[in-house]
């Protein structure tokens, strides 16, 4: 008879709150439930506010993707008004948002993801002492370098926008100020220094050499070609990840979504990865079949969520967010909604972007062995190699004191949407304005796509699906679940449940102080 247990797991290092509950049958995940445990009420707080207030308040939704929310908020207002900002304003916005991505990819990769390789679960592996030396929290060699280099490259956002996180320097019609030539030189130096460090210490080779890694075979050859490749942070991580089988974990549904991002100015030498007008192409793919994005196909299902928005899934322009707070019982189990594209659960983020852009290496890895935590995480770790040349080109194309703002005519009534590529993937803001005030504000975050619950048809959320089949050696230390869940770069801190045979067997008792 199969041995079935249920466990709940506290997965931190994901920025926010999430309860994960899984059912293990003979040590393998056979069912999973992922529930958001926090409701902050941002969308409803926006209603009644001035149309521009989203530029200040929505960045505060996320301290890591703050510039992405600002970009989505300003894009929604410009869509509402049919406003096109000057090309140099687009360059500045793109540079700032891409620098935030650099920060995200490195901090997530080596502060929040790789730390699990230094977990005692892997103490018998030959790589373990080296993983500890590199990835131990607050102490590892790579951890310390990533802290230093990410904060320095973020200075670019501060030069352009005043501070990171939480600036509001993008406004309808452009950005609030044009940097002078001295400021631009500083930005270029900061990016140059980051690139050098990334090449030498993270990638272990030049960006140009990396561009020639175009297949799974190329990747193997590259790893063996030079000790620099194998011992760089990515090479070492890759060898560890293969040793523990991350290439066989975390597949998911195999659906990919991108809203596209980074509009390319007409007069720029930068080329969109898919040849289109945005650097990151938009699209939806099921397997390797890529289709054009149809925005009307997006809807949020709340069958498993603690909201009372009505029975049918709603397009976000028609969405409500009406909390319906009951206890932790019954069919509803999450404060996250379940976004669907044409009824399908989908993943977004670097892997999806590389599917849309037909990245040769990622496409070949997917064709060879299907999606996995390894491929998803590899896509994120090497994304800076895709972004850095575009950042450099845009900065080089800018001249000091360029025209970066044009006063817009913002209508006092109408609808708008801002669909952008955030570090973690597709981010959308949908707004409705009447008499200059917001009457509706709906947001779907990348984490919503990844960490949402089941829908009315019982289709699992993306992370739930990805967990199925994951072996867990020690239910008391289920680090394998962390490898899968964190490969989505959730914006949540997962919390603790430990349940067995339907009974929780471990609780923490905190009485009130006597």
């Amino acid at each position: 008879m199969a041995h079935v247990v249920q466990i709940g797991v506290p997965l931190n290092r994901v920025e926010g709150d999430l309860d994960l509950r899984v059912e293990l049958t003979d040590g393998v995940v056979t069912e999973a439930w992922c529930s958001g445990t926090m409701y902050r009420g941002f969308e409803r707080m926006m209603v009644g506010r001035d149309a521009l207030d989203g530029l200040v308040i929505t960045p505060r939704i996320c301290g890591m993707c703050t510039t992405a929310h600002l970009t989505a908020a300003v894009t929604a207002l410009e869509h509402l008004g049919g406003i096109t900002p000057p090309p140099d304003a687009l360059r500045l916005r793109n540079v700032a948002l891409m620098v935030e991505d650099l920060q995200n990819d490195l901090r997530h990769g080596f502060l929040m993801y790789a730390g699990d390789l230094a977990n005692p679960r892997w103490s018998a592996e030959p790589f373990y002492p080296e993983a500890q030396r590199r990835f131990a929290p607050f102490a590892g060699e790579t951890v310390i370098e990533v802290l230093r280099e990410t904060k320095h490259v973020l200075e670019v956002v501060a030069i352009l926008g005043g501070q990171w996180p939480h600036s509001s320097f993008m406004v309808p019609g452009g950005v609030v100020s044009a940097p002078g030539s001295a400021e631009l030189v500083q930005c270029r130096l900061l990016v140059h220094a980051f690139r050098q460090w990334y090449e030498q210490r993270i990638l272990g080779c030049s960006l140009e050499r990396w561009q020639d890694v175009r297949s799974a075979d190329d990747l193997d050859a590259w790893l063996d070609e030079s000790p620099h490749h194998g011992d760089g942070a990515i090479g070492f991580w890759l060898r560890c990840a293969r040793a523990i089988g991350l290439d066989r974990l975390g597949a998911g549904h195999g659906n990919y979504l991108s809203y596209g991002g980074f509009p390319v100015p007409d007069d720029s030498a930068v080329r969109g990865l898919g040849g289109g007008s945005s650097f990151i192409p938009a699209g939806f793919a099921s397997g390797d079949h890529v289709r054009a994005l149809d925005e009307a196909s997006i809807a949020e299902d709340i069958a498993s969520s603690w909201y009372d928005d009505g029975p049918e899934p709603r397009h976000p322009s028609q969405g409500k967010t009406k909390p319906y707070a009951t206890g932790h019982e019954g069919a509803r189990y999450s404060w996250a909604k379940a976004p669907r594209y044409a009824g399908l659960s989908a993943e977004t983020g670097p892997l999806a972007e590389m599917v849309m852009g037909a990245n040769p290496l990622i496409t070949d890895l997917l064709a060879a062995s299907g999606p996995s935590a390894l491929t998803r995480q590899l896509a994120r770790l090497v994304r800076p190699a895709v972004l850095l040349p575009a950042i450099e080109t845009w900065l080089a194309e800018l001249r000091g004191d360029a025209r970066c703002y044009e006063r817009p005519e913002l209508p006092v009534e109408g609808e708008g949407r801002g669909l952008v590529a955030a570090a973690r993937g597709a981010l959308g803001h949908w707004i409705r304005v009447a008499e200059g005030r917001l009457t509706a504000y709906q947001i779907i975050t990348p984490t919503g796509w990844h960490a949402g619950p089941r829908d009315a048809g019982g289709q699992r959320g993306y992370t739930e699906e990805a967990l199925i089949g994951t072996p867990v050696a020690d239910p008391d230390n289920p680090v394998e679940l962390g490898h899968v869940v964190r490969s989505f770069d959730h914006c949540m801190v997962c919390t603790v449940h430990l349940v067995r045979s339907g009974q929780r067997d471990r609780t923490i008792r905190f009485g009130l102080a006597p």
Binding site: Y39, T66, A158, G162, I508, F510
Partner: protein, 312 residues
């Protein structure tokens, strides 16, 4: 013996943690080393297993593991209806965990405006509360009489996010047993006894009342664009952000994110005004004198400012 620190996140965006990682000279790792701080737990960085985290909480609760400094990031979410179920931990209201940890800690630090005053989370629906304030009103989640083990009230470090150097300086003072004088709203006077306006590179434009009503130029943003620099307490233009700049320097109005009413209800990019004079004047300034002074200052404004020639 090392000073122990537990970092808790409630209704938060994680931005105070992200800003904290940008600390410079010393950086975060160097600072922890210099001050001999042992981080028992940080939700974004620690890699202990679930089991070990639970055991840690258990031993703090049992007074077996001393807790010297509790840093709280984010508002305590008390809704709906006071149950705390909008934000849960281990199936229980997170607020209960925060209450317990606060009662065990020698010092309690509110990192950021949400933990200090409730902030951007919004009071009405989620019943967001600061640790000892709800907006301007003293009390908050822990109540006005709360004192941590050291006898101090909560040390409030407002800011959205809190400036990393302010947090670093506070930790240093607490570790080294220095006096840390608290001013209004229980915020250390060292950093909050000054205004964001101080050090703003637009000060000369402000002085001569050379105002802008739209983005993209060099004038002062206090009179029309909602800038609260002359009212907001904080060191943004002294310490600067990410070593480089500040919002007002690049032309983003100060939204008063250190203030207990942040974000205020009035349109954020607009200055509430009467007869073209802001309703809220620079801190401590008398209206009649201000009118006379600004009238004369505007008349004396030099062309280089009127034509926005003076660079920032």
């Amino acid at each position: 013996m090392a000073t122990t620190l537990y970092w808790a996140q409630c209704g938060s965006c994680g931005g105070d943690s992200m800003a904290w990682l940008c600390l410079e000279s010393p950086d975060v790792v160097e600072l922890l080393d210099l001050l001999d701080i042992e981080v028992l737990w940080h939700p974004s960085l620690s890699n202990q297993s679930a089991r070990d985290h639970l055991a840690l909480l258990g031993s703090i609760a049992a007074n077996e593991q001393p807790l010297d400094i509790l840093v709280v990031e984010g508002a305590v979410l008390r809704g709906p209806g006071g149950t705390g179920m909008f934000d849960t931990f281990d199936g229980r209201p997170k607020k209960d965990l925060i209450g317990e940890l606060a009662r065990r800690a020698r010092h309690v630090v509110a990192a950021g405006t949400c933990a200090s005053f409730g902030g951007a989370s919004g009071e009405a629906e989620v019943e967001a509360s600061g640790l000892q304030f709800v907006r301007e009103e003293q009390g908050g989640f822990l109540g006005p009489a709360f004192r941590s083990g050291s006898g101090r009230p909560v040390v409030n470090l407002p800011g959205c996010p809190v400036h990393p150097q302010v947090l670093a300086g506070t930790l240093a003072a607490l570790c080294q047993g220095e006096e840390l004088a608290l001013g209004p709203y229980q915020a250390p006077a060292t950093w909050y006894g000054m205004l964001v306006h101080q050090g703003c590179v637009r000060n000369e434009y402000h002085e001569y009342r050379v105002e802008d009503a739209d983005f993209g130029t060099r004038g002062c943003m206090f009179f029309h664009l909602g800038c609260r620099g002359p009212l907001a307490f904080g060191p943004c233009n002294k310490l600067l952000w990410n070593r480089r700049s500040s919002k007002t320097r690049v032309g983003v109005p100060c939204m008063g994110c250190t203030m207990p009413d942040f974000p205020r209800d009035h349109p954020l990019f607009d200055t509430p005004a009467m007869a073209d004079i802001p309703l809220e004047l620079p801190a401590g300034v008398d209206r009649a004198h201000y009118l006379a002074y600004k009238g004369m200052a505007a008349a004396a404004a030099p062309d280089r400012l009127l034509q926005r020639q003076t660079r920032l």
